[in-house]
C-alpha cells in the first residue's frame, strides 16, 4: 500500500452536484480496491496557465488516498474516459502508510470534512431536484 495524491482539473461549467458526483464515483473506486480515501479537497476555480480543451478556467480537486497500484491505474482510466475532466496528475506521497494513523492525523487537521461536505451538497441538490420534478 502506498499513499497517492491525485490532482485533477474539472470543466469549469460543472455544477456542485456534478462535481460531487465525480468525487463520490472516485471514492467508490478507491474503496472498491480496498483503498482508503483520506480527503478530497476542492482547491477552487483557477485560471489555467494555458488552454486545455479550449477552456481558460478549471476547477481543481486534490484526492489523497492509500491504495495498491492497480487502483491507481483504474482511477486514472476512469478520469481519462470522463469528458468533464481536463487534466489529472498522480503523485506518490509515501511508500508506506499506516492508514489509521494517517486518517487520524488528517482528521485532526480538519481536512477530512471535505468529503462529507460534498456528500451533503449532493444530497441537498438531489432533494432540490426531486422537489422540482414533483412541482412540474
Amino acid at each position: 500500500m502506498r499513499e497517492y495524491e491525485t490532482v485533477y482539473i474539472a470543466q469549469p461549467q460543472l455544477s456542485d452536484a456534478q462535481l460531487a458526483q465525480i468525487n463520490t464515483k472516485l471514492k467508490g473506486l478507491v474503496e472498491k480496491h480496498d483503498g482508503r480515501l483520506f480527503f478530497a479537497r476542492n482547491m477552487g476555480k483557477k485560471n489555467l496557465g494555458y488552454h486545455i480543451k479550449k477552456q481558460t478556467k478549471g476547477v481543481y480537486f486534490c484526492l489523497d488516498y492509500a491504495a495498491a497500484g492497480g487502483c491507481v491505474s483504474e482511477l486514472e482510466r476512469s478520469l481519462m474516459l470522463d469528458e468533464n475532466i481536463l487534466r489529472f496528475l498522480t503523485v506518490v506521497k509515501a511508500e508506506k502508510v499506516d492508514i489509521d494513523a494517517r486518517a487520524a492525523e488528517i482528521e485532526a487537521r480538519g481536512e477530512a470534512i471535505a468529503v462529507t461536505e460534498e456528500k451533503e451538497i449532493q444530497q441537498k441538490e438531489l432533494v432540490k431536484g426531486e422537489g422540482e420534478i414533483k412541482e412540474e
Partner: protein, 107 residues
C-alpha cells in the same frame, strides 16, 4: 568547459595577488564572502515547495516562465532538484504556463 575553468582560475589568481599587494583591502574581500547566497531551504527547514501552490513555485521562474538557474536562486543541488520537479508538475497541471507566449492566448 575547460576554457571556462581556465578563466575562472585566472581570475582567482589575480584576486589573490591583489590581496597580497594591498593588505588594506581586506574588508573588500570579506564583503565578497558575505555576498555568497545560502540555500533558502537549508537555512529554513520549514520551507518547502509544493507543486499545487503556484505562488511558492513562481519565485523560481523567470519572467518568461523559465526555471531560474541555481547560480541565481542560490539553492543547493538537492533542493534545486526538488524545485525543478515541482515546477514541472505545476506546468502539467496548468498552474504555470510552459512559456509566456501562451498567456496572451489564454486571456
Amino acid at each position: 568547459m575547460f576554457e571556462e575553468f581556465g578563466r575562472r582560475g585566472g581570475r582567482g589568481g589575480r584576486d589573490k595577488k591583489d590581496g597580497k599587494d594591498k593588505r588594506g583591502e581586506k574588508g573588500k574581500k570579506f564583503q565578497l564572502i558575505m555576498r555568497r547566497k545560502m540555500c533558502r531551504f537549508c537555512a529554513d527547514k520549514k520551507l518547502s515547495v509544493d507543486y499545487k501552490d503556484a505562488k511558492s513555485v513562481q519565485s523560481f521562474l523567470s519572467e518568461r516562465g523559465r526555471i531560474v538557474p541555481r547560480r541565481i536562486s542560490g539553492n543547493c543541488a538537492g533542493h534545486q532538484r526538488e524545485v525543478t520537479a515541482a515546477i514541472k508538475r505545476a506546468r502539467i497541471l496548468a498552474l504555470i504556463p510552459f512559456t509566456t507566449s501562451q498567456v496572451p492566448l489564454a486571456i
